[in-house]
Symmetry: D2
């Protein structure tokens, strides 16, 4: 249930309402909006509950949550959530640009990427230290060594670090070195991992699984939100379809769809979404025109020699050109980078 | 094979080259570019053919066509094809905006739509007189009566008419009344129909089948081109995937993909591509940012009472607002409407 | 509406009921079952109609038809429809085996195929005279010459002929030479063609389009039935999915699904459904175990030199082996070939 | 590389060959066949390696492994792998029948299911103690309490226990109570989990992810095999497609495809594969006819009141009937249950 508090509600009243929620065996989530604070009460509902909540101090009205996802729903929070992590802002009219290589390979490579994407206008650095690979015999990432190199790159450029975490047991370590925890598409329904990142303070970039429905995607986000972490970015990265001229099919209508259903910001990944360098620039522009709150783009100083994903990676010049064009489209839809 | 003519080639030389092509049992297609004229020789290739063509008068060079589609291929014609039909221009930096109701219902309705979309900035009027319907028991269109009403709407507004033709036997009649012949998604591989419209002078808007690959789509266009009609517009209208929050999945990466492979202009249909009015505006903007040469949008003066497709139709005010926003995005990507 | 007649209804009573249906502007379809005759009244329903029908002579009860397809629905006809065409019986416990080459190539080839598949146990011969080809430059079939060769093969073997018709204008000719008119997957929603075969007396084998839903498929059949032709066989031939190890994905659950929804018999095409010779035998067995009423299988005396589809074609020995195994599985599910 | 040993090879020779493999930095996997033993050498290959292996004692020949998956490949092991776990045998002509409820709910329920499915002919009991649920607010299983109940059911019936493990940290506990560790579709690419079950002695039932390609599926199995656990069963449970009349699309051609590519046994899950009770029996029969080595079927003594998945669950009588029919089809394809 959504408990909407009065406009001049006091912290004490909120606390008391939270206590009422807990006393009925429900889990409270406080969501602070600009105009209103809302307490979402999550759990099995019983008769008479609505009336009890209505009598709690400072309560304006009590409404049901119709969507299967609760805390993620626009019903609970009208205003868009803005996620901030160091240099990165995603949402609220600001488009975050996360760029960098697929994998962290070595110090020289990640520093070149970091300086290059920063100069071009990126607002965060991506790079994989733990790499989930389809084959057990492929390069699995530099692991902690990679995290250290990412931290160096942040020191050198000031860019926030976005990097993937693969396993519950690594969450603490990855959170120590990075600014945003990425959950990869393969792990979108790895619920223990979602719960684990839900308990950290780091913002989460949650990638859509390649055959996930919108409801499954939002319910995956709900696992993180329900764990206590309100800073979730949803990332559309393409779905599996019959198409073979692209690696995945990038369905941009998910951007306005999700914006209608959730307050969480939406990031698009045109690199995985197309799988071909020459298609990435157009899809960056289209994503922004569709209303995306952020982009995550694979960029390498030398894509032909990248350890992974070179065929879908921009070089630094290509990326710089794209950012210039993105700024124009962003301005045309009243947003800024 | 592609026979590239010299820059100062004379009509006589082209004629002689065509005769050589025919004498070897190949079918010639002349494609006039700004800088160069090309003769595509289509048919079974034999040893020695290349050398024979090279000796024809006015020939600069002879190249193989690698793609399975020939006349549609960028290999044969580097410059983008611009399709013009009355008030409508699609391609070459100009974005055509085709708008109007799903079905022609009556004179009042089609005139309201025509005046409304024209005032908002549309450059052509769409409307179905022959409607392919999933059920034999649904409204199948006003047929010739509908064509007459479309012609009236053209008279009243000057807008070019885009309307669907369903069957070989109707091609002549539909061509008489309209400016562009639309081939619907269900008929993308109705080869007799493609051959029939290939023999007319009317430009063709060819919609992608919902499970067609890019190669199948371009080969369908090739049927029209091979029939002798060079004015084909390709229309992406969404594909069948597992997604259910949209009617179809609109894969905008087809726009830059097709632009790399073919010189034909690309139109996007965000109405069928999403199936929901509230998603159409964002996808119009995204299509233009992705590089589309045109849009085809369902617009009705009263969508709630439309005979078909009301749930994915914009009203006149919504359409007018979208066109204003489209112009801004078009300008941001150096195009105009 | 379904007008169920009394058990001892007379032809006159049926005629009178039909007249009542027509007098109310509805279209009557008479379906004779073993126990009951039903008159399906198709058209726009109005208040009071049910009561009027209930008072017609010989009427037992009047029920609504809930499915969007009417004449195809199990609601209208409980007993399975058995389609017979010369040597071929499909349905009612008898599994029809339609086998032969993709294309008719020449007399020697089609006669070898016909004799071979007959000896192996096939109950009908397939072979394409009109071939819908993805590329305009591929072999399009021998056309009428091919039909004549098929007729010769029938004369020589007694096998019923199943062959595709592509266009309205060819329906009469193809019907003259063949026993079953096949509508290919590309034409499943070519409604004029469906109407045209609906007006013939020849049974129709209707292939599912590769992205057609069950409702679209049954409504396509409804076009044929509504045209007056009750002998429609539905053919599952695989759908477009993300899978690439098979040409299409063959979803056999459509067999029991369709049997629950319609009285029409279901044929499966494991050749197109898999696209690989080595997968065809297992899928023949699986289709029969799933309850299919028939199989349509590509067989050629020399697949390596077939004009089309050789990679998914069985040779005569492979086909003979499969039929032996099919008989065993058919017996295990209380059916016979 | 595949190092094929001579027929009369001694254990010492195998040991020495293994040592050679390790000395070159490769990882050895010994695969014992009936006729031949093979040592698969996995790792980065270098020039001269093949020759070195050829000179090791007892070596007959050295071949490259062409498939991206190595130990899973038929190239490495020609004979089918038979997986045994208590009462369950899967492969080698014996079809394993794993049946039971979606979730373990309570002692009464799981014992009723266990006794019922055993009486009907099941050879193992399935039941979820740890349930991955799309929503964080759904029932997540009885966890260790559920494992204990499963162990009781095994005690009572002698049936081997198949149950899902969701997380690395639970692997030891689940392995203690169960006979087969199931990896669910959502976790097919949870590589840490695959590595963890690869280190146990328990056979693994690996479910295909709903959008996994065959290569991704086999490489997921490879993670388990490479971890040292040779007993992997592959489970086809349906894929995400555009179809909506079934929960997933069950593509049975994967059975013969996988049998051509891998020696691992293939199990089919018609419950998730269709999502509707009335479709399950036909698909059980079809799976066996297609060549499946096992079935996993949801069965509950009272599906209408099941805690989860009731709509796709058979009751005990339906299951008993299906097993009778399955035996007949199995006999028809020369297999036994």
């Amino acid at each position: 249930m959504i408990i909407v508090m009065r406009q001049q509600v006091t912290p004490t009243e909120i606390q008391e309402t939270v206590a009422v929620v807990e006393s009925l065996g429900m889990k409270p989530h406080i969501l602070h909006g600009v105009e209103r604070t809302v307490v979402a009460a999550i759990g099995p509902e019983r008769d008479g509950m609505k009336e009890t909540f209505e009598q709690a101090p400072g309560v304006a009205e009590v409404l049901p949550i119709l969507a299967p996802y609760k805390i993620a729903s626009r019903e609970v929070k009208r205003e868009p959530t803005v996620v901030k992590a160091g240099s990165l802002t995603v949402g609220g009219g600001t488009i975050g640009i996360i760029a960098g290589p697929c994998s962290v390979e070595n110090e020289d490579q990640i520093l070149k990427a970091a300086h290059g994407v920063k100069a071009a206008g990126a607002t965060a650095l991506r790079g994989g230290a733990y790499k989930p690979r389809t084959s057990p015999y492929s390069f699995q990432g530099l692991k902690e060594e990679g995290l250290k190199l990412l931290a160096k790159a942040r020191e050198a450029t000031g860019l926030a670090i976005v990097t993937e975490v693969l396993a519950t047991e690594d969450v603490g370590l990855v959170a120590d070195y990075s600014d945003v925890l990425q959950i990869g598409a393969r792990n979108m329904q790895n619920y223990r991992l979602l719960e684990a990142v839900g308990k950290t303070k780091r913002p989460v970039l949650l990638k859509r699984g390649p055959s996930a429905t919108m409801e499954e995607f939002l319910l995956a986000a709900e696992y993180v939100l329900d764990g206590g972490n309100p800073n979730v970015m949803l990332c559309e990265r393409g779905i599996r379809t019959f198409e073979t001229h692209t690696r995945f099919t990038l369905p941009l209508a998910t951007v306005p769809y999700l914006q209608a259903k959730t307050h969480l910001p939406i990031v698009v990944d045109p690199s995985h979404g197309t799988g071909h360098t020459y298609l990435v620039p157009s899809m960056c522009l289209a994503s922004i025109a569709a209303g995306a709150d952020g982009l995550i783009v694979e960029v390498h100083h030398d894509p032909a020699h990248a350890a992974s994903d070179g065929y879908q990676t921009l070089n630094l010049q290509q990326f710089a050109d794209v950012v210039v064009r993105c700024r124009k489209v962003a301005a045309a839809v009243d947003r800024k980078i």
